[in-house]
Symmetry: C2
Subunit: 321 residues, 2 copies
Amino acid sequence: MTTRKRLAWIAVDWGSSNLRVWAMSDADEVLAHRGTERGMLGLSSTQYEATLLDVLGDWLPENDPLDVIVCGMAGARQGWREAPYLVVPARLDTLAEGAVVPSVQDPRLQVRLLPGLCQHRDETGKEFDVMRGEETQLAGLVAREPEFSGRVCLPGTHAKWARLVVGELLGFQTFMSGELFRLLAQQSVLSHSLSEDDLADSACREAFVTAVQDVSTEPTRFTQRLFAIRAGDLLDERLPGGEARGACLAARLSGLVIGLELAGALGGLDESEQVCLIGAEALCHRYALALEALGYTSRVIDNERAVLAGLALARSTVKHE
Amino acid sequence: MTTRKRLAWIAVDWGSSNLRVWAMSDADEVLAHRGTERGMLGLSSTQYEATLLDVLGDWLPENDPLDVIVCGMAGARQGWREAPYLVVPARLDTLAEGAVVPSVQDPRLQVRLLPGLCQHRDETGKEFDVMRGEETQLAGLVAREPEFSGRVCLPGTHAKWARLVVGELLGFQTFMSGELFRLLAQQSVLSHSLSEDDLADSACREAFVTAVQDVSTEPTRFTQRLFAIRAGDLLDERLPGGEARGACLAARLSGLVIGLELAGALGGLDESEQVCLIGAEALCHRYALALEALGYTSRVIDNERAVLAGLALARSTVKHE
């Protein structure tokens, strides 16, 4: 840390595969940032403290205890210590009330593990669902815009769609889109036909948009249209050759998977309601394009900004306890 | 071969992963049967003859040439020799007209590789599609029932649905259901929650049927309901414990995947029209149960009987050339 501003607390996003830490000032400015691949899946519960000290020990003051606010899978049952799920509907500005304190040896670490959220099946069509980590990004949205109401999408391996009303999460849905795309692109018969797509290319973009619209019109043909990607590679003479061919087909696969998600997630949403996307820039751009193809507008909030605002909001609640 | 009946020809189903051969009498009775895992994926084009001699060389007479009728991936571009696709609509009783003769050293082998079928995209909603092997099973149905008209389903890794009118295949659709189920069950986050299902168990059967109906009613929620299987494993207190839990969840996954296929494949089909299933007994039973859950009746033709009848029909055409 080369800045003169003083370290006041530490923000931590501890996911399944990655650990990201930020040194924060008392005004919630980022003083320094580090990331590693030491996520929950590679750790036993006794390894978390040592991992944390390993990654950020040199940031810590000599004696003073420091708030370390953690969201994500570190609070799962198979993580550091379980922070039990809060049940929706749930207010997002009081997540810290469900935080748990794991036992630590180093007195400088005042760790709080934030809880995830869960949802039970009910007669209104809600399904069993869980999130860990995304609730903190949603809290970040609420921290920045306390009056926000509307539909929020967090694209990713397990994409989340949340319905917020003035700081309260009423319900949410998880779609396995990212994982499904990866399995199909890398491990199915389609893998022989695909390369990396590029939505800046007009042919790719058109293939993507057409796929979104196709699956939205006829969702029941989803798995048939998957196989047609392979058959099209064998038969479609209008496809470009070379590298561009695999890129177009990958864009079509992406459009089919994201389009099916959107068709399910947008149910009941008026086209005049803007969707708020929270996530990595390129992925959010992809979703924005898909939404546009179906007549919806969107705006994007960067996921790092969202998670830091959510952790800062949680820390402010912890302090006032 | 312990029978006194004389070997007249050899039937071969040469798929991607398996090779199955039958010694046939002139009346098309099975005299002997063998199977190996030496499928197309493990062979280069120069290895087919040796493989065939290895598997059935001891069946061959000293000098007489013998018809060897082959369906499946041996006729693919990456197989023994390419038997180019016939384009639908196509008559199923004249497949042999598209057969090709690969070059062989052994004069006793009179090999014919039957063609697959392909379909081009058109304005009626037909998609690019291909089949290799299933067309011979369909020909087997036509051989047994020349007047057959209706919808035929061949479940499997890439399930085929065909529309037949009096011996002619008008169009078909391939659904990636089997492959999708396997990927999700074995490689996705769901793998932690699943074990083998058993539709003879009433709880499994109910989970399967409910899933078929759920996805048929709301197909756009497909990828969301996939994730809900995992969330249900964490949260649903009504699920049985132990081994039965994973079996019920596997049955639900199977129901979601097959149900989405049926919702797409049954479009425009009146409930009074019976679906003809051709395939392995257990899988056909699963499809029959799913069809019943949606109000349709079905009947089953064993896939070995179908493929042998199709190969016999092709051989009879070859002989009359």
